[in-house]
């Protein structure tokens, strides 16, 4: 499992064997490929970039080329065991709408995103007075695709507002998983990146 992105590693631990997975914004299919190998999942990706779609096909992965915001409405409800938004939520136009949609078509959703509340971000804004540029937020404000950045607490609040259930949450810092005794407050400071597993309340 060397060279595997930390959030991918966590996701590969969460996902159950032989499940059906949709990876929204699957890029070149790294995560799907990993999940097929490790968990024998039956996976599909949605990707908008032409060259990345071609890479997925070459890897033998199933991929739908298109805009996830438009594609997702075509799937019937509960078509997947997991719908994954890996570093994608902060780039979409309507995150709230998308969250509801993925929990319509998936039994649970796995969402990973960079934490804007990480101490390094806070420090850069506080002391430098500039938008943060970190390992998780590599690009300057004018180059980034991230249009809906949030903190772990922001995301947590949205889940509560939508009356959804958080099954698991993980914080990552420097490729390490921050486990117990981290709570929401400390995760929001020390995790540069978060992975949430969310589902509808029964």
């Amino acid at each position: 499992m060397k060279n595997v992105r930390a959030d991918h590693y966590i996701i590969s631990k969460i996902v159950k064997n032989n499940s059906r997975i949709l990876d929204i914004g699957c890029a070149d299919g790294q995560l799907l490929h990993l999940l097929e190998k490790e968990k024998n999942v039956s996976g599909q990706g949605i990707e908008i970039k032409h060259d990345k779609v071609e890479t997925c096909l070459k890897k033998g992965l199933s991929v739908i080329e298109g805009d996830a915001n438009k594609e997702i409405i075509n799937y019937p409800k509960k078509s997947f065991d997991y719908v994954i938004l890996s570093q994608t939520l902060q780039t979409v136009e309507r995150p709230k709408w998308l969250l509801n949609e993925i929990l319509r078509i998936g039994k649970s959703a796995i969402i990973s995103f960079p934490n804007f509340g990480h101490w390094l971000c806070r420090a850069q804004i506080l002391f430098k007075g500039t938008m943060p540029v970190t390992n998780d937020l590599k690009l300057a404000w004018y180059d980034t695709q991230n249009i809906h950045l949030c903190t772990i607490r922001d995301f947590n609040n949205l889940i509560l507002e939508l009356n959804l259930q958080i099954n698991e949450k993980f914080g990552i810092n420097k490729k390490k998983v921050l486990s117990f005794p981290f709570n929401l407050f400390s995760l929001n400071i020390f995790a540069s990146h978060a992975v949430f597993v969310v589902s509808k309340k029964n």
Binding site: R20, L57, K58, G60, S62, I64, N74, P76, S79
Partner: protein, 381 residues
């Protein structure tokens, strides 16, 4: 204008393509029976020891089994010549490529122009109504004959795509990869309407003689040419016609007659029409267009397309072109959605091209890359 009048009578003297005559009969979907059907086909590359490298390529309405190499009648290169061959997308170093002339066609497989073994006369007007299902059933006889348990891939565009859909649903256990390109699971009213214009042109040609023109030693060439002309427009986009011809005029001679065709696009269409009649049979055109119109994959399921793909195990790649208005992307998307509803293994790509429906026949780099990549990817599973 290409003239080869003698073709119309010696079109069946094929020594250059294998003609397999089955001793058995073929039961058609409409209940009638074709005795001792013939299938004409071309192969490229070699079948491997396990018979696991066979790719069936299905041709479109006016195509034929000469997908690659030089066509014996037109002397032009095959319709997918750039796609099939050594080191090409369908690499004959590793794949065994089969392309058959469809049932109802006019390049050697049983069709309206064949001799009916029951009467020893031309079928002509007696040729039974056939469907896409029947074409596939005849192909299946060949695949069985070749001893191929499972086709590695079935691929084709337009009417060829309909055959792919039929293969990969009716005989899904015999197909590993299915690639329907620029096609649909059923014709729209607009598709049928364009075909009907073509059929009317043929039937209104006085030389058609209720389909028995061969016995009368004639041919409804004008009607067939007009049918081809209207169809050809539907294969192109407005943009590609404008780009190619615009309002350019060829003959500015003021003495030329008013309706002699001074726009370049008129001359182009006339050429398309007249060169077509030298290689195609009017009755075949009627029957094949009819079989496309009648094709409806969802018919057996009361129009519920999702049910067609229940427990389907093929690996699908569906391809459309953004400028194709004959089989638009929305039609391919219906297939994708129905496959997704069944948790099937499906990929979808819409390829940008301004060349309309005909794009699948053209050398579009992205189409080639995607097909090549998909075949490579299939090796990992």
């Amino acid at each position: 204008m290409v003239t080869n009048k003698t073709n119309s009578n010696n079109i069946y003297n094929f020594e250059h393509t294998p003609n397999l005559v089955f001793d058995t009969s073929l039961k058609l979907e409409n209940g009638s029976v074709l005795n001792k059907p013939t299938i004409a086909y071309q192969t490229y590359g070699e079948l491997n020891h396990n018979k696991s490298n066979a790719i069936l390529i299905c041709h479109a309405l006016t195509g034929d089994q000469y997908a690659a190499g030089t066509h014996p009648i037109t002397l032009k290169l095959g319709w997918w010549n750039d796609m099939i061959g050594k080191d090409k997308v369908f690499d004959t170093n590793s794949y065994f490529i089969i392309c058959t002339n469809v049932l109802g066609g006019c390049m050697g497989s049983t069709g309206p122009k064949s001799i009916n073994p029951d009467t020893n006369n031309y079928f002509g007007n007696d040729f039974p109504e056939i469907g896409i299902q029947d074409m596939v059933n005849l192909q299946k006889k060949l695949i069985d004959h070749l001893g191929i348990e499972k086709l590695l891939c079935v691929v084709g565009g337009s009417m060829g795509g309909m055959q792919v859909l039929e293969w990969a649903t009716k005989y899904s256990e015999r197909v590993k990869l299915a690639i329907p390109i620029a096609t649909s699971y059923r014709h729209t009213a607009q598709n049928i309407a364009f075909h009907e214009v073509g059929r009317q042109a043929i039937k209104n040609d006085t030389n058609w003689i209720n389909g028995d023109y061969i016995k009368n030693n004639t041919s409804p060439e004008k009607g067939l040419a007009a049918a081809r002309m209207v169809a050809h427009i539907t294969y192109m986009s407005e943009k590609s016609l404008s780009k190619k011809f615009g309002r350019n005029k060829k003959n500015l001679n003021p003495l030329s007659k008013i309706f002699e065709g001074s726009f370049e696009v008129e001359n182009y269409l006339q050429y398309q029409g007249s060169s077509f009649v030298s290689r195609f049979d009017a009755n075949s055109y009627l029957h094949l267009t009819r079989s496309m119109d009648r094709f409806d994959l969802s018919e057996k399921f009361n129009g519920n397309l999702e049910k067609v793909f229940k427990s389907n195990t093929c690996k699908w790649l569906i391809i459309s072109f953004n400028s194709d208005w004959l089989f638009p992307t929305s039609e391919s998307k219906r297939l994708v959605n129905a496959l997704n509803a069944n948790a099937c293994n499906v990929s979808f790509v819409e390829i940008e091209s301004d060349r309309g429906h005909d794009s699948f026949l053209l050398q579009i780099p992205r189409l080639y890359n995607i097909l090549r990549g998909f075949l490579i990817g299939a090796k990992f599973k």
